[in-house]
Symmetry: C2
Subunit: 333 residues, 2 copies
């Protein structure tokens, strides 16, 4: 049985779909998906015209239209969490003038509703009440945290001066307890070692990149019981990469407490990283422009059961390898 092909056939059984909707629905990484799609064309299972993919007549006869079209809860977009509307109003207003993602740092932000659902999850876990460290915050998640006035302290580090300025300016204007500092994560900053209860990050998805981001996050934590949150896609991280990452997490003394599939959505809202999509390998390969919110990532939560043991300590310069590997088909070249 080929699970991924079955997923695609299942989705198409109710009618033609945009190739970007298929990418979103299925579980393989982008290179694996591209191969499956080509196989399915050759095998006479599907046809593709422009953006659109559909089952061949032969195939249509072999499957019936599955009666379970909508599996996900529409109310919460399949996340299980509500949005706090009082926070949303302020948050939305503040984020109106957010800095646009730039290619140089592989930026791309999660949607406002997504950030608020992530916030609900942190509150539920009791993680909101501690000292929180955010490594890279083009999501501007720190501001949603600060708007609850519950965290004892929030510190953000980012490589992009525009983000730092935006957060510090907002903190001043709204009286929020959040401070942002300029930092390239390739350098270690001793000031932030062993100081926090919780870290939050959205790492690049190469193995060395993940190792670096997680090590910096983990180095910032106080000890046993401290926790970390990060996003990881299936599109740019295959199951094998996930396996290596989970081994790493275990070695660093952490248990995975949650993996929330497709919790984080990076909306194509006219400002996000889809604006330079002609530079993404997957767009070039498919010769098809994105017309669907297809880039999502799973939200991991991890917790220290031993003294945190970061695999990288001290400065560690990666350069290009930080951003790109053979699976990074949604990263601009």
């Amino acid at each position: 049985m080929d699970r991924i092909k079955n997923q695609i056939i299942y989705l198409l059984s109710s009618g033609e779909k945009s190739v970007w909707e298929i990418i979103d629905f299925q579980d393989a990484s982008l290179p694996e998906f591209f191969e499956k799609l080509n196989e399915m064309k050759k095998e006479g299972i599907v046809k593709m015209e422009g953006n659109v993919v559909y089952l061949t007549d032969k195939m249509k006869k072999a499957v019936y239209e599955y009666p379970f079209n909508e599996l996900k809860c529409m109310e919460c977009e399949g996340t299980g969490y509500r949005i706090m509307m009082n926070i949303k109003k302020k948050y939305e207003k503040i984020l109106k003038d957010r800095p646009k993602p730039i290619e140089e740092y592989d930026q791309g932000y999660i949607g406002i509703d997504v950030a608020l659902r992530k916030l609900a999850f942190l509150i539920e876990r009791g993680d909101i009440f501690g000292e929180i460290f955010i490594l890279g915050d083009d999501d501007l998640f720190s501001i949603s945290l600060a708007l609850t006035f519950l965290p004892k302290k929030i510190v953000v580090v980012d490589i992009d001066e525009r983000i730092i300025d935006f957060i510090n300016k907002t903190a001043d204007e709204y009286g929020l307890r959040v401070e942002a500092f300029l930092q390239d994560l390739q350098k270690e900053n001793e000031e932030f070692l062993r100081k926090f209860d919780v870290f939050v990050t959205d790492p690049v998805e190469t193995l060395p990149g993940i190792k670096l981001f997680l090590s910096r996050g983990i180095s910032s934590l106080k000890g046993i019981g401290s926790s970390g949150y990060f996003g990881l896609s299936t599109l740019e991280a295959s199951r094998k990469k996930w396996f290596e990452i989970q081994k790493m997490i275990n070695e660093m003394g952490f248990v995975i407490t949650d993996i929330k599939r497709q919790f984080q959505v990076y909306p194509d809202d006219g400002k996000n990283f889809f604006e330079y999509q002609e530079k993404l390998p997957i767009v070039k390969k498919l010769r098809s422009k994105s017309n669907y919110n297809w880039y999502k990532s799973s939200l991991y939560r991890i917790e220290a059961v031993k003294e945190p043991n970061p695999l990288i300590r001290g400065d560690f310069v990666l350069g290009e390898k930080l951003y790109r590997d053979e699976e990074s088909w949604a990263t601009p070249i």
Copy 2:
């Protein structure tokens, strides 16, 4: 910062709660929770009268009522999945005469809505189309799978003859593609080795028990890409136990693709294992009868990235140790 205490204070900030609702809301295991609760009483943070726990006046002044009472989506009970109503009707009718859980095998079943949401998740993953092996099925989940008519094959093994008879009788009556066989998982059955695409189980929660159940599940799988589903609570499995289990999963050649917190609810519906609750250690310790659906477990999905390597092969007799360890405070003695 004490995360668990913060979770409890957060919950109680909106008013007094049943101790069972608190158990459900917080993340610690039962022995850890019991200790925290006693500490909080001594520290003058909470008081307990009968079933009910509330903040002391002193504490009430220190916190304000947090404005984010409802964090979970009510529509889907925080699971993110819908219920297929056409399947539910038949499933509910069939399950009316289900065998009652018995102490001897530490039985206890998930609710009907829960089973249907789990089914939606299996469909979405494409796992529904394969050959499916179920190890222990007092949940009668196999019947919900079979009612979709999508799986190629479903095989159930269970230690309880009543379950076997019920499933086979139902299969006959409704023309369902499911077969059930009597088997004690302590014995290996060669007939079921390397035959399936997917396994589903709800293991006992002792470390040797989990190792046995997962090994049997994993032995039944065909190879790379095959997947497994199982439940694991936080109440009878501490973070340290989770850590050991995740190491095991990694050693067996599997990646964890999903951990869905509190996805599985074991309803106190007048028939489930709460009927003999006076035999559960936690009920004795708290001197308080359950009045809330507090027993839940996380749903794990794992996937083989290497040739499956079960840690236990051949017969393996555990006896009492299968069911009980120092964390099994919701298992009858």
